[in-house]
C-alpha cells in the first residue's frame, strides 16, 4: 500500500499501478462466503454450469466491489475515502482467470475542507476478456494535515 497521495500528486491521465490476481476456486468461494452470498452459482459447479449456463462458478458482485475498493485504496493510502463507485458487469470471472485491474484518472477537482475529488476509470479484465468496467470517485487530501474521513453531513458530497 502507498503512503497517502495528495491531490497535487494527481492529474488527468495518471495511471494507477496494475494489480494482477490469479483466481482459484477458493478465491471465488472465499469471496462469496466473506460477503455472505450463499447462492449456488458462487460455490456449486454443477449448478453454475447446468442451471445458469455458465462455464464455472463465478466471482460475486459484492466481493468484486471489495476488490475494486482494495485496488483504489492501495493507490491512495488509508486517507483515501471512496465516495461513489459504479460498475458494469460485462463478463464473468471464473477460476483459472487472472484478474487484471488497470485504472486511470479521468477527473481531478478541489473540494471543501482541504479535501479534493479524483475520478478513476478502472477496467477489470482477464486475458482478452473485458469483465467489469468501474468508475470510482474518491476523496483524497490536499495536504498532509487534511483528512477526508473528517467530512460529515453536508460537507460530504460524493
Amino acid at each position: 500500500m502507498s503512503a497517502d497521495i495528495l491531490l497535487g500528486d494527481v492529474s488527468v491521465g495518471t495511471e494507477l499501478p496494475v494489480l494482477e490476481k490469479l483466481v482459484k476456486p477458493v478465491t471465488v468461494v472465499l469471496g462469496a462466503m466473506a460477503s455472505r452470498d450463499w447462492r449456488p452459482q458462487h460455490h456449486d459447479y454443477k449448478f453454475a454450469t447446468g442451471n445458469n449456463g455458465l462455464d464455472d462458478i463465478i466471482m460475486n458482485t459484492p466481493n468484486l466491489a471489495a476488490w475494486f475498493e482494495r485496488y483504489v485504496t492501495d493507490w491512495t493510502g488509508p486517507k483515501g475515502r471512496i465516495g461513489r463507485i459504479k460498475f458494469r458487469m460485462k463478463d464473468s470471472v471464473y477460476p483459472g482467470d487472472t484478474m487484471q485491474f488497470a485504472g486511470k484518472v479521468t477527473g481531478v477537482e478541489a473540494g471543501a475542507g482541504g479535501v479534493g475529488w479524483v475520478d478513476v476509470a478502472i477496467e477489470l479484465s482477464a486475458g482478452d476478456k473485458s469483465c467489469v468496467g468501474c468508475e470510482a470517485r474518491v476523496a483524497i487530501p490536499e495536504s498532509a494535515e487534511a483528512n477526508p474521513w473528517s467530512l460529515k453531513g453536508d460537507a460530504w458530497k460524493p
Binding site: 500500500m1 460477503s35 449456463g53 458482485t61 459484492p62 466491489a65 471489495a66 482494495r70
Partner: protein, 173 residues
C-alpha cells in the same frame, strides 16, 4: 433517472414501481470479524482496518469497509424457525418469480457512500423498484432488465449508503 417501464408487465409488478418495500433491520451484529474476512478474501492490507492507532487517528475508531454495505443485510442461509432459505434483495427474487424468469445476473451496480458504518451500528434498509424493461434477448437468454435501489440508514437516521442495481432476469433459450 429511472427508465420508463414496459407496458406489458403484470399488474402486481406494475404496482410495485416507486414503492418502498422490505424495510428491514440488520439481523446479526456488525463487527470487525466479518471485515477481517473480507480483507483476507481480497488481500487488502489497508492499515485503516488492521491498525487500531490508524483507525483512531483517521476515523475516531474502527469502521467497516464501505463496500461491505450490502453484506450487513444478507440473511443467514438457515436460522431457527425458518422453513425456507431467506434471500437478500427480496425484491429481485420477487421479480424473478412474478415474471417467470428463473435465472438472473446483476449487470450494473452503483453505490454512493455516506456515514461510515461502525461495529455495533444498527442499520435499516428499504428497497425500491424503479423500472422493468420489455423482453430482450442476450447471450444468456431472453428476459427483462430491472432497475432497483436500496437505502441504508443507521440508528441515528444518518444515511450510510444508497445502492442502485440493474438485474437481468432470463430464461435460457
Amino acid at each position: 433517472m429511472a427508465s420508463k417501464s414496459a407496458d406489458d408487465l403484470p399488474e402486481e409488478v406494475q404496482s410495485w414501481i416507486e414503492q418502498e418495500r422490505y424495510t428491514e433491520k440488520t439481523e446479526f451484529p456488525i463487527e470487525m470479524g466479518y471485515v477481517m474476512t473480507t480483507l483476507s478474501a481480497t488481500q487488502n492490507g489497508n492499515p485503516l482496518y488492521w491498525d487500531a492507532k490508524v483507525a483512531e487517528e483517521l476515523t475516531g475508531g474502527p469502521i467497516t469497509l464501505p463496500t461491505m454495505v450490502s453484506v450487513w443485510f444478507r440473511p443467514h442461509d438457515w436460522s431457527p424457525g425458518r422453513t425456507e432459505p431467506a434471500v437478500p434483495l427480496q425484491l429481485h427474487f420477487d421479480l424473478k418469480e412474478k415474471l417467470g424468469l428463473p435465472e438472473a445476473v446483476m449487470s450494473d451496480n452503483t453505490i454512493v457512500f455516506g456515514e461510515p458504518i461502525r461495529p455495533g451500528d444498527e442499520l435499516t434498509t428499504t428497497q425500491i423498484l424503479y423500472s422493468v424493461s420489455g423482453l430482450k434477448t442476450t447471450k444468456l437468454g431472453t428476459g427483462r432488465f430491472w432497475d432497483f435501489g436500496v437505502r441504508i440508514v443507521n440508528q441515528k437516521g444518518e444515511l450510510c449508503a444508497e445502492e442502485r442495481y440493474t438485474g437481468f432476469g432470463y430464461n435460457r433459450d
